[in-house]
C-alpha cells in the first residue's frame, strides 16, 4: 500500500508548494513555475528513459533541447521569400553536398581495401569540405544580407506552431541517431564526453549560422498556440467575465494565457508519462532493465545490446527535443545565448537523480520539485541573507553578501544532489 501512497503524497506536496506560491507570492508566478515544471518533467522523463531504463549517461541534454527550440523557428515562422530567392536553393545544395561527402566517405571506408581506404576517405572528406564551403559560403552571405536587421535568414515553413513539438522530437531523434551510431558501444564516460561535446556544437551552430535562425540576433515573436494577452484585454466578453471573477483585465489575461499553456503542456506530459509507464511495464522495458543490470548476461540471452541502446537513446533524446520545443513556444523567442549546460543539462540530471532514476513518477516529481527549488532558492536566500546581514554595519561585505545571493542556486543544487546520492541514492521515489 505504501508503494502507492508515497508517489501520491509526494505529488500532493508539489501541488501544495505551487498552490502555496499562488497564495503567498502571486498566481502568475505559481503558473510560471507550473509551466516550466511541466516542461522540466518532460525533459527528466527523457533522461530517465536513457539513464533509469538503460544506464546510458547522456550529458548533452542541452543540445537536444536547443534542437527542439530550433524546430519551433523552422516550423512556425513565415518563410522569407527574398532570402530563398537570394540563395535558398544554393544553401540546400551545399548541405546535400556536405551530407553526400560524408556518406561517400563512409561507403568508401566500408568497401575499399584496407591499404587505400584511409587515404581515400581523407581525400573525399577534404575535397568534399572545400566544395561544400565553395557552394555554401556565397549563398550564406547573400541570405544573411537580405534585410539583415529584421530577417537575414531563410525563415520557417509558416505552419501551426503545435506541429513544431513533434518535429522538435524528430530533429533531436535524428541528431541522437548520429551520435548514438558513433559513440554508443564505447565506455560510459566516453559517451558522456561525446554528448557534452555535441551539445556545445549544436549551440555553436545555432549561434553562428545566421541563415538558419538568425544566430545571436535571436528570433523573436514566435507564433503562439494560445491567444495574445492584448487581444484578450480588448475583447469585451473576456473583460466582462474577468470582472465576474473579480479580476482586472490585465491580470486575468496573463493568467488565462499561462493556464492555456499549462493545459497544453499537461496534456503532453500525461500522454508521454502513460507511454513511458507502458514501456517500463512491457517486455521491452524489462529487457532494457535486464541489459542495464547485466549487459553480458543479456547479450548471452541473444539480445542485441547496441541496437537496444541506440533505440532508447533516440527515444529519450526525442523527449528532450519535444520539451525544448515546448519551452521555446512558451518563451516566444529563440535565444541561443541563453542555453547554458548547468541549467539545461546538469540541472535535469539533478531532477532525475533526486526524483528517483528508473521510476517515471520519480522523474516527473524531480522535475517539479527541483524546478520549484531552482526558482525559489533566490527569494528564500535573499530573505535569509537579509536576516544574517541585518545586524552588520553598512560595508562592502554586506553589499557583497547580498549581491551573491543569486549564486546560491548552484550551491544548493549541488548540495541537494550530493545529499540525495549519499543518503537516499535511489531517489525520493525509488524504482520498483
Amino acid at each position: 500500500m505504501s508503494n502507492y501512497l508515497r508517489p501520491v503524497a509526494m505529488l500532493a506536496l508539489v501541488a501544495v508548494l505551487i498552490v502555496g506560491t499562488g497564495f503567498v507570492q502571486s498566481w502568475n508566478s505559481a503558473l510560471l513555475i507550473l509551466n516550466m515544471g511541466l516542461v522540466s518533467a518532460v525533459m527528466s522523463l527523457g533522461v530517465n528513459l536513457q539513464w533509469g531504463f538503460a544506464g546510458l549517461f547522456n550529458v548533452g541534454v542541452m543540445g537536444f533541447v536547443a534542437l527542439g527550440g530550433l524546430s519551433v523557428v523552422l516550423v512556425s515562422m513565415p518563410p522569407v521569400p527574398e532570402a530563398w530567392s537570394a540563395g535558398g536553393a544554393r544553401i540546400v545544395a551545399g548541405l546535400i553536398l556536405g551530407v553526400g561527402a560524408i556518406a561517400a566517405a563512409i561507403v568508401a571506408w566500408k568497401t575499399l581495401s584496407k591499404k587505400v581506404r584511409g587515404w581515400a576517405v581523407a581525400g573525399i572528406l577534404v575535397v568534399g569540405f572545400i566544395l561544400y564551403r565553395m557552394v555554401l559560403s556565397p549563398a550564406v552571405d547573400a541570405v544573411e544580407s537580405v534585410n539583415a536587421a529584421s530577417t537575414g535568414y531563410l525563415g520557417g515553413l509558416g505552419l501551426p506552431v503545435l506541429l513544431a513539438w513533434p518535429v522538435g522530437g524528430l530533429l533531436a531523434a535524428g541528431a541522437a541517431w548520429i551520435i548514438g551510431k558513433t559513440a554508443l558501444g564505447l565506455r560510459s564516460d566516453y559517451l558522456a564526453i561525446a554528448t557534452l561535446g555535441i551539445a556545445e556544437i549544436i549551440i555553436a551552430i545555432l549561434k553562428n549560422e545566421d541563415w538558419l535562425a538568425r544566430g545571436v540576433k535571436n528570433v523573436i515573436g514566435l507564433p503562439r498556440p494560445v491567444p495574445n494577452e492584448v487581444d484578450l484585454q480588448r475583447d469585451p466578453g473576456f473583460v466582462e467575465s474577468a470582472a465576474g471573477w473579480g479580476l482586472d483585465p490585465t491580470t486575468a489575461s496573463t493568467l488565462y494565457v499561462k493556464a492555456g499553456y499549462a493545459l497544453l503542456f499537461a496534456a503532453v506530459l500525461v500522454v508521454l508519462l502513460i507511454l513511458a509507464q507502458l514501456a517500463l511495464k512491457s517486455p521491452w522495458g524489462r529487457m532494457m532493465r535486464a541489459i542495464r543490470d547485466n549487459e553480458t548476461a543479456a547479450r548471452a540471452m541473444g539480445k542485441d545490446v547496441t541496437r537496444r541502446h541506440l533505440q532508447v537513446f533516440i527515444l529519450g533524446s526525442a523527449l528532450c527535443g519535444i520539451a525544448g520545443a515546448m519551452m521555446t513556444t512558451l518563451d516566444g523567442q529563440l535565444t541561443p545565448q541563453s542555453y547554458q549546460p548547468l541549467r539545461y543539462t546538469f540541472l535535469i540530471w539533478v531532477m532525475v537523480i533526486v526524483g528517483g532514476s528508473g521510476n517515471n513518477y520519480g522523474a516527473v516529481l524531480g522535475g517539479f520539485l527541483i524546478w520549484f527549488l531552482w526558482v525559489q532558492v533566490e527569494p528564500i536566500g535573499q530573505a535569509l541573507m537579509g536576516f544574517i546581514t541585518a545586524g552588520m554595519g553598512e560595508g562592502w561585505l554586506k553589499a557583497h553578501l547580498l549581491d551573491s545571493v543569486q549564486h546560491m542556486r548552484l550551491l544548493t543544487m549541488g548540495v541537494v544532489l550530493l545529499l540525495v546520492l549519499r543518503f537516499s541514492p535511489r531517489g525520493l521515489l525509488p524504482e520498483r
Partner: protein, 336 residues
C-alpha cells in the same frame, strides 16, 4: 624573403598561441588523467577546481598588489600560485573526506562517482561565483611583451612582426618545469612509485602494503597543484571568468582521452594535439598563403576553415576520430 615572412606569420599567429594553449591544456589534462588513473573516474569538477584555485590566487594577487609587492617584469600572480595551490588542496582534501571517500569505501561503480563529481561541480561553481562573482577578472601585471612588433621589425627587417607576450613565455617555462617535476616524482620517489603501482593494479598494490588513503591524498595534492597552475596560466594568458573555466572541461577531456586516459605522457601529447588543431583550423590562413603562393593563386577569402566559435567542434571531431579508430588513445591508456 616571402618564405621567411610566411614562417614568421605562421609562428606568430599559430605556433606561439598554440604552444601556450597546449601547455595549459596539457597541465589540465594531467590532472584529469591522474584522477582517472588513481581514483578511477572522470572528474567533471576539474574545470571548476581550476577556477577555484585560480580564484584564490587572484585574491592573493590583489592583496600583494595592494601591499606594493611586485616581481618587476613578471606578473605578481606567480607569487600567489603557492597560496592558490594551498587553498585548492584544502578544498579538494575536504571534498574527498566528506564526499568521495564514502563511495570509495563502498566500491561504487565509476559512473556513480562521475555523477557525484557533477554535484561537486555545482558546489564549486557556486562557491567560486559566490566569492568572486561570475564576471571577467583581470589580474595580470608586469611587462606585457617579451618581444613587441617594432623591436622584431627593427631587428630583422622583415615585414611581418613576431610578438611574444610575457605570459606566453611564462606559460611554456612553467609547464616544462612542472612536467619535469611531476615525472621525476612519479618515476623516482617512493610515493610516486606507489602511486603508479596503485594505478596499475590496485589489489597487488594493497597486498604489498601501500596505504591507499595516502596515495589518494597525494593525488589530490598534485591535482590541486596542476589545476591551480594551469588555471593561473590560462587566466594570465587570456582572462579569468568562471564560466570559461567550466567550458575548458571539454578540450581538457578531449586531450586526456586522445592521449589515453590514465597516461601522463598521453595527456601532454593530447593537449598539444588539441591545441594545434583548434588554433590551426580556426586561423585565417590568408596571410600565410599570400606569402607562399604565386600572386595569381593568392586567395580571395580568409581561408578560415571554421569560424572561431567552432573550436569545440574541433576538439570533438578529433575525439571522435580517436575513439573510433583507437579507443584507448594514442598512448594506450586504460580501458576499464
Amino acid at each position: 624573403m616571402d618564405l621567411l615572412n610566411a614562417l614568421v606569420a605562421l609562428t606568430n599567429f599559430v605556433l606561439i598561441p598554440a604552444i601556450a594553449y597546449g601547455s595549459q591544456l596539457a597541465l589540465g589534462a594531467l590532472g584529469v588523467t591522474l584522477v582517472y588513473g588513481i581514483l578511477r573516474f572522470s572528474n567533471f569538477a576539474h574545470g571548476d577546481t581550476m577556477a577555484f584555485g585560480t580564484m584564490v590566487a587572484i585574491l592573493v594577487t590583489w592583496g600583494l598588489q595592494s601591499m606594493g609587492v611586485s616581481l618587476g617584469p613578471l606578473p605578481t600572480a606567480l607569487l600567489a600560485i603557492p597560496f592558490g595551490i594551498l587553498g585548492c588542496a584544502a578544498l579538494l582534501l575536504a571534498t574527498d573526506r566528506v564526499v568521495y571517500r564514502f563511495y570509495r569505501a563502498q566500491k561504487a561503480v565509476p559512473v556513480i562517482l562521475v555523477i557525484v563529481s557533477m554535484g561537486v561541480m555545482f558546489v564549486y561553481n557556486g562557491i567560486t561565483r559566490f566569492i568572486i562573482g561570475p564576471d571577467t577578472q583581470s589580474f595580470a601585471d608586469g611587462e606585457r611583451f617579451l618581444m613587441n612588433a617594432r623591436q622584431f621589425r627593427e631587428w630583422t627587417g622583415l615585414a611581418e612582426p613576431l610578438v611574444i607576450r610575457w605570459t606566453q613565455g611564462i606559460t611554456l617555462v612553467t609547464a616544462v618545469i612542472v612536467v619535469i617535476a611531476l615525472f621525476w616524482f612519479l618515476n623516482r620517489t617512493r610515493t610516486g612509485k606507489s602511486m603508479r603501482a596503485y594505478s596499475d593494479n590496485e589489489d597487488l598494490a594493497l597486498l604489498s602494503g601501500i596505504d591507499p588513503e595516502k596515495v589518494v591524498r597525494v593525488t589530490w595534492l598534485i591535482v590541486a597543484a596542476l589545476a591551480t597552475i594551469a588555471g593561473v596560466l590560462y587566466g594570465l594568458d587570456k582572462s579569468f571568468m568562471p564560466f570559461t573555466y567550466f567550458q575548458l572541461l571539454l578540450p581538457i577531456f578531449a586531450a586526456a582521452i586522445v592521449g589515453g586516459l590514465g597516461s601522463p605522457v598521453g595527456a601532454i601529447a593530447g593537449g598539444f594535439v588539441i591545441a594545434f588543431s583548434e588554433v590551426g583550423i580556426t586561423y585565417a590562413w590568408k596571410k600565410v598563403l599570400t606569402y607562399l603562393l604565386p600572386e595569381s593563386l593568392a586567395p580571395d577569402g580568409l581561408v578560415q576553415l571554421l569560424a572561431t566559435d567552432y573550436k569545440f567542434a574541433v576538439s570533438f571531431m578529433i575525439l571522435v576520430v580517436v575513439l573510433l579508430f583507437r579507443p584507448t588513445g594514442l598512448f594506450r591508456g586504460k580501458s576499464v
